[in-house]
């Protein structure tokens, strides 16, 4: 069997390797993010931390070999492993903090050596236990008068001495259980356990300490002190009832705190449902969970995540930072190391022959377990948040010193336990506690998996996950161009500081926007997977480069069917008028322009959003696809086209002279049939959001029908619907599927994706030809104008629809101007002429 000393050396060697590779990964991380060799100078402190860690580990190992040859070989490596891991994370979070913590480690290592050289019978502690406890309590009390806090309103927990701060509660944390152990353990094992009166000093001083902590508003320390009292009494008296009573008391105190303290109420409320107020009271917890989710199974890699987004990540939420960068796998590993430490402490208790040693070992290891579970559970929403440090890992000198002294006790007592004396005495309390802590650590592991894997997809896409913003600054988003290659939305700047620019503001209704906090709109939203570079790649490839290698995805460009100059020309032609213009090709369905006024400037949307979204003129609404207007007279050509199928008399070439009202009164289904025929009762499926067409019912009584012809009725259509219906006339009966994407950059050149819908046959080719004849009088261009209404609201609509069939693919223009009378026809003709001229 390997000697304990060599086993310890082997474990420390592995821990050192972990330190070395961790520092290497941290130093590489800026280069991975930049895609080229770069160095983040503060990360060099990782090497310093590693060096000091190695030195402390080596010296402690050598010292222990000399003075504690029979110690438990797992304790020191496990504690130092956690300590080194904590330093790695601190370097990453805040190099300056890490530097201070490294110096603390050096100092604490020295103090531990001093402690280990004190007499191992611990008589100096037993004899003067009231003195030690009194001193610790006095120091805690002193913070009430001379304490300094981290901020103006934060609890004043520190005593300062010439720039060196320490937290007296960290001393009480281990002095109190040692005091309780010596008080409760009889000097000789009489087998009877302590007398009932022995509990008195423990309860008295325990209550005093808890009271002090409550006055200090240090909820975490108070909870730990309560736990220490309950654990010591339970272990000493071996009565399960004490443990149950302790749990009940803790719940009662929480209940009382809920009623009395706003802080505790917040903590409990945010634990119960953090999603109610994620930007305020439960900000920390939600950010912590998002951080765990960002890590996933294997983590982002050291230096590659963004754990700094969680408040006080270096102390309370260091475990979330660990989960983000080392993944659920790392988190489970870390929990295992902690569980091993606690269980080995329990083993020392079981093997102890001295009742005081048994109490100290069990109590201190249980407390270390409690503290770890409290803060890890708090960050994983397993428990309400209590501000305690994570032993060995969190930033804090006094905390590190306290944890190391506790380790020192365990080392001394493990050395004392007679190796040959196989345990024969059943020790139920210690076994019960071991099982409880094993289950608690397992629950924390399951919880990390729950948030980091199972719930991660939901958490990662939350808008308060600011990692998306950081990601977009690093990863180049693909550019959007118009059909001629003119830029519409481009990524500018250098890696790490990318910004989005919009050179053609007139195209905003189509291009949309992408913002950090208000989401995305328009084609920026529709093409997001392409522009981010995710679409068109297989999922393994994505996982490999994004998750495993941590390379930001290179975005891909996309060309839209719109023509930037046509957009600009049309927009200029409309002037200040509100309304919409649709220009599309009747054959291919390619949309050449989609104008909506008033509109927004995507470049300043981030600052203007609140104002724009409250503006009654609805500039964020795309009127061309989402605007619904009363069509009025614009429906005449479609009724006329369908008349033949209903055996209605041919009314000749004057569309206005047709007795539509009589027709509809005689054939109530006629109007409904026409609306369905030309798809006015359906959303035209396309890449931009369209108006949600409610059940369209054409009225059957004369008054209502007459209102419909004025555009003041119930029937509402969007400009894009009307444009598609007119396109069917221009293109010989087939309405095209609207298309906005011209081509997309793919792995193998360019591709054109399928449209969201299919072309629809609306009328026969003969009917279409006849209608074209009537509307256009035999020429290449045809048009139809009308007045409509804006639904029930005031203000009319001026409509224009026209098409040009001279080219290979007819061009259709539909204009809807709000606030009649206005010259929709003039603007429409101008746009049609401009579009037709571009064809030649």
């Amino acid at each position: 069997m390997t000697s304990p000393s060599r086993r310890e050396a082997a474990l420390l060697g592995l821990a050192l390797l972990f330190q070395i590779f961790g520092a290497a990964a941290l130093l590489l991380s800026p280069s991975v993010q930049a895609g080229a060799w770069t160095v983040n100078p503060p990360y060099w402190s990782a090497l310093f931390a590693m060096g000091v860690w190695g030195l402390v580990a080596w010296i402690l190992h050598r010292t222990l070999d000399r003075i504690l040859p029979n110690r438990d070989p797992l304790l020191l490596p496990a504690a130092l492993f956690l300590c080194g891991w904590g330093l790695q994370i601190l370097v990453r979070l805040s190099p300056e903090t890490a530097l201070r913590q490294t110096l603390w480690l050096f100092l604490v290592g020295g103090l531990l050596m001093v402690f280990l050289r004190l007499p191992h019978d611990l008589e100096w502690l037993r004899k003067y236990r009231y003195l030690w406890l009194g001193a610790a309590l006095a120091a805690v009390a002193a913070t009430l008068f001379f304490g300094v806090g981290a901020g103006e309103d934060s609890p004043r927990l520190w005593l300062g001495l010439d720039g060196i701060y320490f937290q007296p509660s960290e001393f009480l944390r281990w002095i109190f259980p040692v005091f309780a152990a010596f008080t409760l353990a009889p000097r000789r094992n009489t087998g009877n356990g302590p007398e009932p009166k022995d509990a008195f000093p423990v309860l008295l001083f325990g209550a005093a300490g808890v009271l002090l902590h409550i006055l200090q508003q240090d909820l975490g320390a108070a909870m730990l002190l309560i736990a220490a009292s309950v654990l010591a009494l339970y272990l000493a008296y071996r009565k399960t009832g004490i443990l149950l009573f302790g749990a009940a008391a803790a719940l009662a105190i929480l209940g009382g705190g809920y009623a009395l303290s706003a802080t505790i109420r917040d903590r409990i409320a945010t634990w119960w449902n953090p999603w109610l107020d994620p930007s305020n009271t439960s900000y920390q917890v939600v950010q912590s969970l998002i951080s765990v989710a960002a890590g996933g199974l294997i983590g982002r890699g050291p230096g590659l995540g963004a754990p700094g987004l969680v408040p006080v990540a270096y102390s309370d939420f260091i475990f979330s930072a660990l989960s983000e960068e080392y993944g659920v796998l790392g988190a489970v590993g870390c929990l295992t190391v902690m569980a091993v430490l606690v269980l080995r402490g329990m083993r020392i208790a079981i093997r102890s022959t001295d009742p005081a040693a048994r109490l100290i070992a069990a109590c201190l290891s249980a407390l270390l377990g409690c503290q770890s579970i409290l803060i890890i559970g708090g960050g994983l929403r397993l428990l309400p948040l209590t501000g305690v440090t994570l032993p060995w890992m969190s930033y804090g000198g006094s905390s590190l010193l306290g944890s190391m002294i506790m380790l020192g006790f365990l080392l001394i007592l493990s050395n004392r336990a007679p190796a040959a004396a196989a345990d024969v005495r059943p020790d139920r309390p210690v076994r019960v506690l071991s099982v409880i802590f094993l289950l608690a650590f397992a629950a924390a592991g399951v919880s990390a998996g729950w948030w980091g894997i199972y719930r991660a997809p939901v958490l990662r896409v939350r808008t308060d996950n600011y990692r998306r913003v950081l990601h977009d600054r690093r990863a180049r988003r693909g550019d959007l161009f118009d059909r001629n290659g003119l830029p519409l939305a481009v990524t500018a700047g250098v890696a790490g500081a990318y910004t989005r620019e919009y050179p053609g503001p007139a195209s905003a209704p189509v291009v949309g926007f992408t913002t950090a906090f208000y989401g995305q709109g328009g084609m920026e939203a529709a093409l997001d997977p392409w522009l981010r570079g995710e679409a068109g790649r297989n999922s393994f490839d994505l996982w490999w480069s994004e998750t495993v290698l941590g390379i930001p995805l290179e975005g891909k460009d996309a060309w839209l069917t719109i023509d930037r100059s046509l957009q600009e020309r049309g927009s200029a032609g409309m002037g200040d008028l509100a309304g919409a213009v649709v220009v599309l090709r009747a054959g291919s369905g390619e949309i050449l322009a989609l104008i909506s006024q008033p509109t927004f400037d995507p470049a300043t949307l981030q600052t203007d959003y609140e104002l724009l979204s409250r503006n009654p003129a609805a500039p964020l609404l795309n009127r061309a696809t989402q605007g619904l207007y009363g069509p009025g007279r614009m429906l005449y050509p479609f009724f006329a086209a369908e008349a033949k199928n209903w055996n209605l008399p041919d009314s000749g070439s004057d569309l206005c002279a047709v007795p539509y009202t009589e027709w509809i009164l005689e054939n109530p289904e006629f109007a409904q049939q026409v609306l369905a025929q030309f798809r006015f009762d359906q959303d035209p499926a396309m890449d931009l959001p369209t108006a949600n067409v409610a059940a369209l019912v054409f009225p059957a009584d004369e008054t209502s029908i007459l209102r419909e012809w004025d555009g003041q009725g119930r029937v509402l259509v969007s400009p894009i619907q009307l444009a598609l219906a007119f396109a069917s006339i221009a293109a010989g009966g087939m309405a095209p599927a609207p298309r906005l994407i011209y081509r997309l950059e793919a792995e193998t050149g360019w591709t054109t994706p399928a449209t969201a819908s299919h072309p629809v046959a609306m009328v026969t080719a003969v009917t279409a030809a006849r209608l074209r004849e009537i509307l256009g009088g035999g020429g290449d261009t045809a048009e139809w104008t009308g007045c409509g209404g804006n639904g029930a609201s005031a203000g009319g609509i001026s409509w224009y629809a026209g098409f040009e069939t001279a080219g290979d693919d007819p061009i259709v223009v539909v204009v809807a101007l709000e606030g009649s009378p206005s010259d929709a026809a003039g603007i429409g003709r101008m746009i049609l002429a401009f579009a037709a001229a571009m064809d030649k």
């Binding site: 821990a15 490596p77 005495r425």
Partner: protein, 160 residues
């Protein structure tokens, strides 16, 4: 790309170190459990009292085969010690709830456990030293690998 692969290698090495560390820890835990199980004799755990000379060398083993044994000068009891400083029935050892207990039976010269007088019943642990009169006894786990010391060394004192 090369940087990313280096990073990946470092991360794999990091995970390997973590889990190798844990594996070694678990192996140690397992071995400790095995060692503890091996040390425990099969069936009931047997204890014995070893009479020691003043210099600490073993003199004789008394196996504690019954669940209740007496220490005293009387020749008919389990741990019979022929010494005038030992009372006829000096102390009692018995097993209760899986533990061995010691109790002084109002002996004239008293019983010391690890140099502390035994005033009430007390749990015994392996390695405890019991002093009855001037005789020193060690409460010990029976070691199956070594035969118990049976023979009584030649005594100079003539029997009474």
């Amino acid at each position: 790309m090369s940087v990313s692969l280096l990073m990946l290698a470092a991360r794999i090495a990091l995970a390997a170190c973590l889990y190798a560390f844990l594996a070694l820890v678990l192996v140690t835990l397992w071995r400790d459990v095995r060692a503890a199980a091996a040390m425990r004799p099969a069936g009931a755990t047997l204890f014995s009292l070893r009479r020691l000379r003043e210099d600490g060398t073993p003199e004789r083993d008394y196996a504690l085969q019954k669940d209740s044994c007496f220490i005293g000068r009387s020749p008919s009891i389990e741990v019979s010690l022929a010494d005038e400083t030992v009372s006829v029935v000096h102390a009692r050892l018995w097993k209760e709830n899986g533990r061995w207990w010691l109790e002084d039976l109002d002996s004239r010269n008293g019983t010391l456990l690890n140099q502390i007088p035994v005033s009430k019943k007390t749990v015994l642990c392996a390695g405890d030293r019991i002093r009855a009169g001037r005789i020193l006894l060690e409460f010990r786990l029976e070691d199956s690998s070594q035969p118990p010391i049976k023979e009584i060394p030649p005594e100079t004192d003539a029997p009474a």
